[in-house]
């Protein structure tokens, strides 16, 4: 488990990063926290000729609040995001998801942007980004580009990022209102393992906290990319989110999924459990919304 030989560079600003990535003569890979890339390199499943380390680029490391969004720099550590009061206040779903990402030790190194660019079908951060409709801001020598996360994700472990592009930041729309709630549920064999299946839900109720006025319900781990459960969402809009309504609504969800068998669970397992976890996540979001946490 020693990597193949590679060159290593550590630019100090985004301009230099883009310059380095624009050199098509050499196969460069961006490295941030390295929590996936380094093991892959150790097993020689990845063998870039050059690593461009972006962790010393200050402009990638900030969490910035604007009127409508929270902009998270690509190199913000997962653990920093987990502990960020701004994220806790405005992106409660991300706050709920992050403790499920690996172990605290890996979150100390792993970055938000790295997880999204890695595009693992089971990744909690990717699932959250899809659920919340995040926008990715990319930069290359040719200029900036913004893309919706659902367009960014192409397949398992595959994105539309160009060889010369670097992810700069991720814009998450603020979700916290006094009528909103969220739920995040995943199942894994051991605490901190990759999720086998995960479900993330963000929803809004009407002023009286009775009827659902918006719901975003998404399943990870059961297809090559996280899947928005459109039928489930549609059937719950305007409903009172009773357990029975939820139960009926999630029965549609599995139809969209194209899961794989692996050593941990069969595809059938993933389909069945995805529907169940989605129901649990919706109930959690509903209860979250109706709880008195908004009192303060």
């Amino acid at each position: 488990m020693k990597s193949a030989p590679f060159e290593y560079v550590r630019p100090q600003n985004l301009h230099d990063v883009c310059q380095l990535l624009s050199d098509s003569a050499i196969d460069s890979r961006v490295i941030a926290g390295g929590q996936t890339l380094v093991p892959l390199m150790a097993m020689r499943l990845a063998r870039p000729e050059r690593l461009v380390d972006i962790t010393h680029v200050d402009e990638l490391a900030d969490i910035v609040e604007t009127e409508d969004t929270i902009r998270i720099g690509a190199c913000v550590r997962q653990r920093s995001a987990e502990r960020s009061p701004v994220i806790h206040q405005h992106l409660p779903l991300l706050s709920k998801a992050l403790p499920n990402v690996g172990h605290q030790q890996t979150r100390n190194r792993g970055t938000i942007g790295g997880s999204i660019c890695n595009a693992d079908p089971t990744a909690e951060i990717v699932l959250t980004a899809v659920t919340l409709g995040a926008t990715l801001n990319l930069q290359s020598i040719n200029g900036p580009r913004s893309v919706c996360v659902t367009d960014f994700l192409v397949d398992a472990m595959e994105t539309s990022i160009a060889d010369n592009e670097c992810l700069v930041s991720i814009d998450f729309p603020k979700t916290r209102t006094k009528n909103s709630g969220c739920g995040f549920v995943e199942v894994n064999a051991r605490a901190s393992d990759y999720a086998i299946v995960a479900a993330a839900v963000s929803l809004t109720l009407d002023e009286r906290h009775e009827k659902c006025t918006h719901i975003s319900a998404c399943i990870g781990g059961a297809s090559s990319v996280p899947v928005m459960t459109a039928e489930t969402q549609n059937s719950l809009l305007g409903s009172e989110l009773t357990d029975q309504e939820i139960e009926a609504a999630v029965s549609h969800a599995a139809r969209q999924l194209t899961p794989m068998d692996d050593v941990h669970a069969s595809g059938m397992y993933r389909k069945r459990v995805a529907a169940e976890l989605l129901a649990r996540a919706i109930r959690e979001a509903r209860d979250d919304c109706r709880s008195d946490r908004h009192a303060h």
């Binding site: 020693k2 199942v187 064999a189 051991r190 029965s251 941990h264 669970a265």
Partner: protein, 798 residues
């Protein structure tokens, strides 16, 4: 009344390890050391048409690339544990490969990086051949042969009939049969196997530093390299970072030693995780049990029938002998009158098998405990009550089982009552109901299991008539230096068992000396005395006994000198802290420091005819051993039998199949406890290991013969977050066979936990009318079974 034994004292080893000052094989640095990486077969079975090493050899920094053919030309094959002379296995593949991951070539280079770079440049032409993965298919007559010359994939098939099996079956009121499966797992230490070998042309000595826990290591090296045994010096002062059976890198050592001798440089090979799991041949037992049990209306179990098919993988080394150890406790702790046992070892195109904690006893314990639960359920009796009725009673010891071994001592019912009390078993049913009311499945496991310890290895002649082993001695040397300080010497490495604490505590007890002042050092295989390393829960019994014996001899010698100096006779002396005094006139005393000066420097004060110096050796014989098996397979194997009762409750999410263990209690009896912290660590660690075997860990091969779980991403070891807060209670029934009444304890947790979890999960499944005796009980398969006919179609509705 003891001074140090059984007292809560910090283990001697703790400070060194906690402050990061251990010395492991990766800490061994020799000038000019070179590094090995392996080329491994990507396919489970193939002829090696050609191996082209030219591109690899051309890489700067590469010293050599050797193939299995070259190695075989200069070494002898592995010794088979079974009587299978036509099964010829070398460290690296010769002519053909027999499992995916098998070593095909070894690269030695100036760094491990370069060695791995070069390994990728070795071009091997494989001609694929038929292979077999499933052990039952491997037994069929038309199956592809793993070892063609052997003529069959069956390495061992021996039937034993102990006691009146047929009569007992006839007279029994009921008989049931069912299948139990134990998945292929292992002990998987954080430290993989590693070795540094250095052939010294000047002295003619082969020095070996290795992460080793293996009997007859030097003997095997000498035999395979065809060199005199007294040229092999394996150093036992290397800390072993975890083992419980699997640190048996003989083939690794042969490769490193051969390369060192060939090139005159030190050679290091430390497996990486992938090499360890795919090619290290460290997988443990992989079993199918077909069980039959004959019993009466009152729950009395009269007879057991056990057909055990063990998938040995592609070698025939020590692994298959793991069918033998359970013969020594084949009835569990129960009064069972007769047993039929058919032990079958089958070769398949998978990694070869290694020893794992308990040496086959844990799978067997699961099968036996499953029988007891099945009997209780059949009769609608309480499972604990059935156990109580069948357990050997305390006034029945020594209790001889039909296969020939005698259980030394115990009070099983007393231990059970302690577990019942600690677990509040009486109200556990209410907690089960509470969990069920929340939509969970919940069940209780209550098991009673044995841990044989300190054996004579007579499962070797039992399963291989050409083997004549009837003892496994252990030694200790104790000396007092000129200042009166004590140093003890042992002939083994240590993989976390606390042997220094064990030896110092017992010598301290015998000589009234603070164990913290006693130095314990590890000899090497040239300077050492007879020993068989820490296997089979034997060190408290055997090394502890050797330390006690050597200290006792030293005490006698000291007393002789003291009596002479004090002008009295030895029997008038009383041992006090740091010396002796005359019992009737306590003012007359002499310290060890004074006696040490006399023995080393003052011949004029020495008794006549006593040799100078203060050193003694004791070689401990295995108690109760010494006899070969009878022709019908009856033999006394282990002197000591520890007992444990595990009680646990599980909760299972029926949708996800995820099992949670909110309650876990162990009451156990390992005789006299030498060091309470070490025993506690052994029991809890063993139970954690067993929970891994029960719920998570499996080396899974697909039908293409590929290992699917070759890294820690897929081979799941429970972390601290999966292991419950295990509550312990102890009972002490001293063994009559040991120095202080101690028994073995290194395996017991692992020998009870898989059975306890399996029984609890099956209890939880009862309301669904399901059962599952196939370990590990992984969430995916469990949930699929629970979902049963609930296909996606009816989940979705019309």
């Amino acid at each position: 009344m003891t001074h140090y034994v059984s007292k809560k004292r910090r283990p001697k080893e703790d400070g060194r390890f906690i402050t990061g000052r251990g010395k492991f094989v990766a800490d061994i640095k020799r000038p000019g050391m070179t590094h090995v990486a392996m080329v491994q077969s990507p396919v489970p079975s193939a002829r090696l048409k050609s191996i082209d090493t030219s591109r690899a050899l051309a890489l700067p920094g590469v010293l050599d690339v050797i193939t299995g053919e070259e190695l075989a030309a200069h070494t002898r094959p592995h010794q088979n544990a079974l009587d299978t002379p036509e099964v010829v296995v070398y460290p690296m593949a010769v002519d053909r490969v027999r499992f995916a991951g098998e070593w095909v070539a070894a690269v030695v280079a100036t760094s491990r990086h370069i060695a791995e770079d070069a390994a990728e440049l070795v071009d091997v032409d494989y001609e694929l051949t038929d292979f077999v993965v499933d052990p039952e298919q491997a037994m069929l007559s038309h199956a592809p042969l793993v070892h063609e010359a052997h003529g069959s994939n069956i390495l061992l098939s021996r039937e034993f009939v102990w006691g009146p099996v047929d009569d007992d079956a006839k007279r029994s009121e009921h008989k049931i049969g069912f299948r139990v499966r134990w998945g292929r797992n292992a002990t998987v230490p954080i430290e993989t196997f590693g070795v540094v070998a250095q052939w010294d042309e000047g002295s003619g000595i082969l020095d070996i530093w290795a992460s080793i826990q293996m009997p007859s290591y030097a003997e095997s090296i000498a035999a395979m390299l065809d060199i005199p045994l007294n040229t092999v010096r394996a150093h036992y002062d290397v800390d072993v970072g975890g083992s419980y059976g699997v640190k048996r890198g003989l083939k690794h050592t042969i490769v490193a030693a051969y390369l060192s001798r060939k090139h005159g440089v030190p050679v290091r090979y430390i497996e990486d995780r992938l090499e360890n799991m795919t090619g290290g041949e460290m997988h443990g037992p992989d079993r199918i049990f077909d069980m039959t049990v004959a019993f009466d209306d009152d729950g009395t179990i009269n007879s057991l029938g056990i057909v055990a098919i063990d998938d040995a993988g592609a070698n025939s080394s020590r692994g298959p002998l793991q069918l033998g150890k359970p013969v020594s406790a084949i009835c569990g702790p129960y009064r069972i009158n007769s047993v039929y046992y058919h032990a079958i070892s089958v070769a398949t195109n998978k990694s070869g098998q290694s020893a794992v904690r308990g040496f086959g006893q844990s799978p067997t314990n699961v099968a036996i405990e499953a029988c007891v639960d099945r009997v209780a359920r059949f009769l609608n009796l309480d499972r604990l009550e059935v156990r109580r009725r069948n357990l050997v009673k305390k006034d029945e010891f020594p209790w001889r089982i039909p296969s020939g071994s005698s259980y030394d001592s115990g009070d099983y019912l007393a231990v059970v009552e302690k577990a019942v009390s600690l677990s509040e078993l009486g109200t556990m049913g209410a907690r089960v109901e509470q969990a069920r009311s929340q939509g969970l499945l919940s069940g209780i496991g209550v098991v009673t299991t044995l841990e044989p310890g300190g054996g004579n290895s007579s499962f070797e002649p039992l399963l291989n008539p050409k083997n004549t082993t009837t003892t496994w001695p252990e030694s200790c040397v104790v000396k007092m230096d000129r200042t009166g300080l004590i140093t003890a010497m042992i002939t083994t490495s240590t993989s976390g068992q606390g042997h220094q604490t064990l030896v110092a505590t017992i010598i301290g007890e015998e000589l009234r000396v603070d164990p913290d002042s006693i130095r314990v050092v590890h000899l090497d295989t040239l300077t050492g005395m007879p020993g068989n390393t820490p296997v089979a829960s034997r060190m408290a019994i055997m090394l502890g006994g050797a330390a006690s014996g050597a200290a006792g001899k030293l005490k006698t010698r000291l007393a002789t000198i003291a009596a002479h100096a004090l002008d009295t006779s030895p029997d008038q002396l009383e041992l006090i802290e740091g010396g002796f005094r005359v019992a009737v006139t306590p003012a007359k005393s002499i310290t060890f420091a004074e006696l040490a000066i006399i023995a080393h420097r003052e011949d004029h004060r020495m008794p006549a005819n006593l040799e100078p110096g203060l050193q003694e050796t004791f070689v401990m014989q295995v108690p109760t051993g010494g006899e070969l098996p009878t022709p019908d397979g009856v033999v006394q194997m282990y002197p000591c039998y520890s007992f444990a009762c595990h009680i646990c409750r599980v909760e299972i999410d029926p949708a996800t199949g995820k099992t949670h263990i909110p309650e876990y209690v162990i009451a156990h009896d390992c005789g006299t406890v030498i060091n309470p912290d070490i025993v506690r660590g052994m029991v809890i660690g063993g139970a954690a290991h067993g929970i891994g075997a029960a719920l998570y860990e499996k080396f899974e091969y697909n039908e293409d013969g590929q290992l699917l779980t070759g890294s820690f991403a897929d081979y799941l070891i429970p972390s601290a977050l999966e292991i419950p807060d295990i509550k312990l209670d102890e009972h002490c029934t001293p063994s009559p066979h040991t120095s202080h009444g101690q028994k073995g304890v290194g395996e017991g947790g692992y020998l009870g936990a898989p059975a306890a979890i399996a029984c609890a999960v099956n209890d939880a499944l009862v309301p669904l009318g399901l059962e599952r005796w196939e370990l590990p009980l992984r969430m995916g398969e469990l949930a699929d079974q629970i979902a049963g006919g609930q296909t996606l179609g009816n989940l979705l509705g019309p």
